[in-house]
Symmetry: C2
Subunit: 549 residues, 2 copies
């Protein structure tokens, strides 16, 4: 572990200590950008607008309401909601008051939601009317919840079997809008986000005021999100997912106009909001952008104000980068992060060397996940823990450390850092000499063959390049001599016919010879997870017999 | 005082603590921008170029050299040097090793230099060959200095009477380029800069790793210096002046190319460097920009790469803003800061509301000092300590607080914050409803000449020292090149006779040469206020014609 034995010089600096409290962000926004708008698309389809000044007033009222109720420093208060203004007030009101804002992801299975609410011992939960049914189902199994605060006013309060519920507006009504934010050690926890992972129970990542604030500084910088008072930010990435990429903090920090899309993320809805609110910047997963592109192409639409979209969550197809740029003048910026990283680790913006490359080579660089933002230390290591070179070829375990990287999971004693304080991201990556990182595979999907690694993702992409292949999936299967060999599963396009030999011949022009799978099988369906990724767990259970393992 | 009684939640967050060390900036630059250049114009006129990777290697060697010598955490090590690569290595090597880098301003009077070296108890001093004469003169009066390290190699080592001197290259030769940076509490002091102030002895501002690093984050952001890996930064602002506006940290943090101009700041030299190195961004006091404009106009030159110049130190004439924009396509950005603020407090970039104004109104906004960058809290107060409105009309004492604002001066017990933790900047300002701050009355009566301060009080006191002078008053009058020059008004003792030349000769033994007023006038009466102070308002109305202002 680094940084445990710090030297004390016995000489204090002449600077003010000034511990960071996230509420200082909203205070700054209200003071220097008081008239700037926060626009929320509601579930009803209507639009709510108010200002940073209004948001601050109501966040202070909420903080007073929480304090009157008896919420104390360190208590957990949950939210189960879309991106909208009351949810934003909850983030600032809860954390600013010293409690911990636990964002519950409504896309989890009810069993997981029950598990994380109990694990966090949440005392209150702020819930969107559309998720009430979900909580009604499990309310008897989440005994720590004392009160359900429904994100509505009294008039729109829904019929519910929830036993102790109140509408948000009644909860904060008559509360003073004067509040002294908690004077906390800045490493105090501010918020909690569980990562569902692939196996086992969800694990909680407990952010601090410090970690969120530092990441907001770094992520808003010119070579990251590049936010300013002239930006209009559409925050598509959900507040319940990976800390909303910190935009809840970085947008008000810079005085950007903030647009919150609520539940409607189809192409038409996103287009409508980007267009009517003159959005300049947005961040989301590729699926959202596919739907937007489809909608714009079909309807022959343009978005003259939109300048940049950041895409994370999974690799961006090069074709999408090209289409956004050529047809719409929009720069697509790849990013990489994870819940354990608050979440931002890298962002892809060009360097002087990049701009000297030809168009094809520039596109290759743009398809990488990008460079570490300052504050994230990053390296790749082999299985023995030795650092590997930044040569763009050697791949290894992607390791990170820094002030917004997880140290340990909430209420979990497992040691998750190596001896030098590095967190293993579970990704396999290369880093080139210019510092551009590229994820080549998930560690659990990489195929280890004769001591060398074969990227299942690269092999799938190569196979999909064949004009007759609709989908491809690769898993490693045990092999007596090579330890593992790739098994390629192919779903053909309608009407196409192919055989294994033809695919092997095709692949021999695309990948190293020793990567080519001996075993290729044709399937009618490739199983997907709820979020649309190839479900390799199912594939392994289908194609690896227990005698193999 | 705020923030003294912080609540402890007894619950630690799940984030890594990771105290900040300034050396992490250079490590990041070397790892992700290792090939990026640092270009130094030398005193000889030649140019030195190397990379962030080289700078890191040599900073580590220097840190080893300091450690071998016996420099310990908390020791003060001084520099007396121009902006060039060895000076940059000294900043990182000294602070990264845990010692404190004390930048001595060569423009101070020898008595002040002696005072601050003794006050800081500096053990070593890194000195540019051009300043050796200055130290030779006072070497017997600065007993704490054990060793003079001359910023040269062995071949260029000058003839000197300095008793214990070595050239920089010999000092770091044979040192390992492997070094483990000090693991410090991040509030440990990193650097020390004295402000000459208006009265009394210079006062030291002791920065910390934390304060410098946070300011680098904030000042590099899109609405401040807007630095990225595509920027080329000409750092005109001296490293011995106001912490070089943090550019020594923010440029490598973002991977910008860094150009260091050495001692030559005349129009031709600055033009040459901006042009040949394709500089996109620079920061300096107005005098430097006046000289550059003059040179370009006279010689009919252009600077196609230059996009933005930040101007601070004193108010920018509107004509300069217009000329830069109309004739050269360069945006002039006003900034405001002070040594006690590390130094950046505000920067002037437009808001959406600004862009809706007509050209004249936009220019009026652009001539203000700008908006507080996030991290600096700012208000104006009346003499009773009550906060005044942000209405653009009401003026008051400009007050600041935050993690890079001074708490107390070095080795000085004076209380300099008010009961709420605010530091009184000594400036009088308005703040408008959009948050744009404007200094209306310069810090009392200080004269800003060529970006440096001349204390009117000190000058008056020097003049009064003459046996024939009864009273003296100094005000600043506008000057086309130096922005302001002092005007000295003298009331003689009864029966005495003197002329301006004799007073100038007298003053030359009392103050720095460039302080000596060109204009000295004899008066029969000096107007006083009710409380017996010199009434400078009256003097200004008498001696500054409206055409000057």
């Amino acid at each position: 572990m680094v940084n445990l034995e710090v030297k004390n010089t016995n000489m204090s600096s002449g600077m003010q200590a000034f511990p960071m409290n996230l509420a200082s962000i909203l205070e700054h926004a209200a003071r220097f950008h008081g008239d700037q708008e926060i626009v929320s698309r509601l579930a009803s389809g209507g639009v709510h607008r108010y200002t940073y000044s209004d948001a601050l007033t109501r966040s202070r009222q909420l903080a007073n309401a929480l304090q009157s109720y008896g919420i104390e420093v360190g208590d957990r208060v949950a939210t189960l909601a879309w991106n909208e203004y009351r949810h934003l007030e909850a983030w600032y009101g809860i954390a600013g008051q010293g409690a911990i804002c636990h964002t519950v992801n409504p896309r989890l299975f009810p069993d997981q939601i029950r598990f994380i609410i109990n694990h966090a011992s949440d005392r209150l939960i702020f819930v969107d009317p559309s998720f009430i049914g979900l909580l009604e189902e499990i309310q008897d199994e989440i005994p720590s919840i004392e009160l359900f605060v429904v994100l509505s006013d009294k008039a729109q309060f829904p019929v519910t079997t929830l036993k102790n519920a109140i509408d948000y507006e009644s909860f904060i009504a008559d509360q003073s809008d004067v509040f002294s934010w908690a004077e906390l050690d800045e490493e105090s926890p501010s918020s909690l986000c569980y990562t569902s992972g692939t196996t086992g129970d969800p694990k909680g990542v407990l952010y601090s005021h410090r970690s969120n604030l530092l990441m907001a500084y770094a992520s808003s910088s010119a070579d990251a999100f590049n936010l300013s008072a002239l930006s209009t930010v559409l925050m598509v990435v959900p507040m319940f997912h990976a800390n909303s990429w910190g935009l809840v903090y970085s947008a008000p920090m810079t005085g950007a106009k903030l647009v919150l899309p609520g539940p409607h993320l189809d192409g038409a809805s996103v287009y409508d909001l980007v267009s009517s609110e003159n959005v300049t910047f947005s961040a989301a997963v590729p699926t959202v952008w596919s739907m937007l592109l489809e909608h714009m192409t079909t309807n022959n639409l343009k978005l003259p104000d939109l300048k940049e979209v950041v895409i994370g969550g999974s690799a961006v197809p090069k074709a999408m980068i090209v289409r956004f740029k050529q047809d719409y003048g929009v720069d697509v910026l790849q990013a990489w992060g994870m819940t354990e990283l608050s979440p931002l680790g890298t962002l892809n913006r060009p360097k002087p060397a990049t701009l000297k490359l030809d168009a094809d080579a520039q596109l290759k660089v743009a398809a990488k996940q990008g460079r570490a933002i300052f504050g994230v230390q990053m390296c790749i290591k082999d299985d023995d823990g030795l650092e590997l070179p930044f040569d763009g070829k050697t791949s290894g375990r992607l390791m990170v450390r820094g002030p917004w990287v997880v140290k340990s999971y909430f209420r979990n004693d497992s040691v998750i850092l190596d001896g030098d304080g590095w967190f293993d991201t579970g990704d396999i990556a290369t880093i080139d000499s210019d510092g551009f990182m590229q994820i080549t595979d998930r560690a659990k999907d990489i195929i280890k063959s004769g001591g060398e690694w074969i990227s299942s993702v690269d092999l799938e992409n190569a196979a999909i390049g064949h004009p007759d292949v609709r989908q491809a999936a690769v898993i490693g299967v045990p092999h007596p001599k090579w330890e593992e060999r790739p098994l390629l599963l192919v779903k053909l396009k309608d009407g196409a016919s192919l055989d294994a030999q033809l695919i092997k011949e095709y692949l021999s022009g695309e990948v190293a010879k020793w990567w080519i799978p001996e075993d290729i099988r044709f399937v009618s369906e490739i199983p997907l997870t709820a979020t649309g990724k190839i479900d390799k767990k199912v594939l392994r259970s289908q194609f690896i017999t227990s005698s193999d393992a």
